[in-house]
């Protein structure tokens, strides 16, 4: 029987959730016995080459690229997991949500910030760049998400226990000490 396939991605996240994933330490060897990876920074496969069983999403949806990737994940994965605060509620990037317009966000980032040197006062608008959304969206407001693993970053044990449970067809029952919003 072929092994279940896992895909992962980081949308508007800091890769901290992926780092925490790697924090399962030596269990990563067990993990490779249990699953195959497809599209993921872990194996550097850039596009889906087959249908996956589990998709793990880090980060919220801040721009058009995030949106497209998330949709791809939904189409190609049987189960989607929102991993970490950004995927679940937008996280730190979403702190722009309740503030002013996109315009003031861009100005703050590229022109007004005291740490920025931008003599020509150009706000990048190259066609290649992803387009910012009006706010940062939690993933489940855009596609259906099956499981949520909170934390910033989620504890490695939480991720491990959840994966093991899912792979064994059991309910995820997180331990208190691993279940945190920070």
């Amino acid at each position: 029987m072929s092994k279940p396939i896992v895909a992962t991605t980081s949308l508007a996240g800091c890769f901290g959730c992926h780092m925490s994933f790697l924090d399962i330490d030596e269990r990563i060897i067990d993990l490779f016995d249990l699953v195959d990876f497809n599209k993921s920074p872990i194996d550097d496969i850039k596009t889906f080459t087959k249908k996956c069983d589990i998709g793990i999403i880090e980060g919220g949806v801040a721009n058009s690229e995030n949106y497209h990737i998330l949709k791809e994940f939904r189409k190609n994965c049987k189960i989607l997991i929102s991993l970490g605060e950004c995927a679940i509620m937008g996280g730190l990037p979403a702190m722009r949500n309740n503030k002013d317009s996109i315009e003031s966000c861009l100005k703050e980032a590229y022109i007004d910030s005291p740490a920025t040197v931008n003599e020509d006062k150009i706000i990048p608008n190259d066609e290649e760049l992803p387009m910012l959304l009006d706010k940062v969206y939690p993933c489940h407001e855009i596609v259906k998400i099956d499981y949520f693993l909170p934390g910033c970053a989620p504890r490695a044990d939480l991720i491990w226990d959840a994966l093991v449970a899912l792979l064994n067809g059991k309910e995820i029952d997180p331990k208190y000490k691993t279940y945190k919003f920070d």
């Binding site: 605060e85 509620m89 730190l92 979403a94 309740n98 489940h140 949520f148 208190y176």
Partner: protein
């Protein structure tokens, strides 16, 4: 001597004293009833509604309802916990609770209650409403993003001569907690600390210090909220 009588909570028979609230009887007997707006030493307000229990089938707030002989109380049931969870979830989406950025994380009662009730994500869309941070006071910072309007600060923190330092402004979903700029101008460090401590969330914080307790040693890092009460039962 006070009159004593029996009541039951979730089928467990307990002894209650005349005049005590259900909340008090439960706590004294090692039974945790979740609360947010109730606070030791303050007159109950019964506004958060999370201490709601069923008394002989009727929903009542444990913080205000006086125990009476023969009461049959339901507390820790899936039905009531689900209602409490909905209430907690509405608070998470009405405000902007970015736990990773909050100094109170780990010591926050709202967050701890969400852990206890196993909230992974609120079922409601986040409002991401525009809220201010008031840092005008020299000692304290008021972050309206996090305020859950329990009014514990307004009820508990007064000047030496008994005047209000905190109060509500507006009504309905526009409510804000506000601080009396003049009276709070010369607030002592002790009083400022009390204000921060009485706040169940991270809406009132002291300036020029922070993150005193490292992760792992905070109030709710290792044990769920209510654990201190439930421990009584084990003794």
């Amino acid at each position: 001597m006070k009159d004593k009588f029996k009541i039951t909570i979730d089928g467990v028979e307990l002894t209650a004293n005349q005049g005590e609230t259900i909340l008090k009887v439960a706590s004294d007997n090692g039974i945790y009833i979740p609360v947010l707006c109730a606070y030791e030493g303050l007159k109950p307000q019964a506004s958060c509604r999370v201490c709601s229990v069923k008394v002989n089938g009727r929903t009542m707030t444990a913080c205000t309802t006086t125990a009476s002989p023969g009461m049959k109380i339901e507390n820790d049931t899936p039905e009531i916990n689900e209602l409490r969870k909905i209430i907690v979830e509405t608070m998470f989406v009405a405000g902007n609770h970015f736990c990773p950025t909050c100094e109170k994380s780990g010591d926050c009662e709202l967050q701890a209650l969400a852990y206890r009730l196993k909230m992974d994500v609120p079922r409601f869309p986040y409002s991401f409403s525009n809220k201010e941070i008031d840092a005008s006071n020299p000692k304290l910072m008021i972050d309206h993003n996090r305020c859950i309007k329990c009014k514990r600060c307004a009820r508990g923190i007064k000047t030496e001569d008994g005047k209000d330092l905190f109060a509500f402004k507006n009504r309905g979903d526009r409510i804000l907690i506000s601080i009396d700029k003049e009276l709070a101008k010369n607030i002592s460090d002790k009083k400022a600390q009390e204000a921060m401590d009485i706040c169940p969330v991270g809406a009132i914080l002291r300036k020029e210090r922070g993150f005193i307790n490292p992760i792992g040693t905070r109030k709710y890092d290792n044990n769920p909220i209510g654990n201190n009460i439930e421990k009584l039962k084990e003794i």
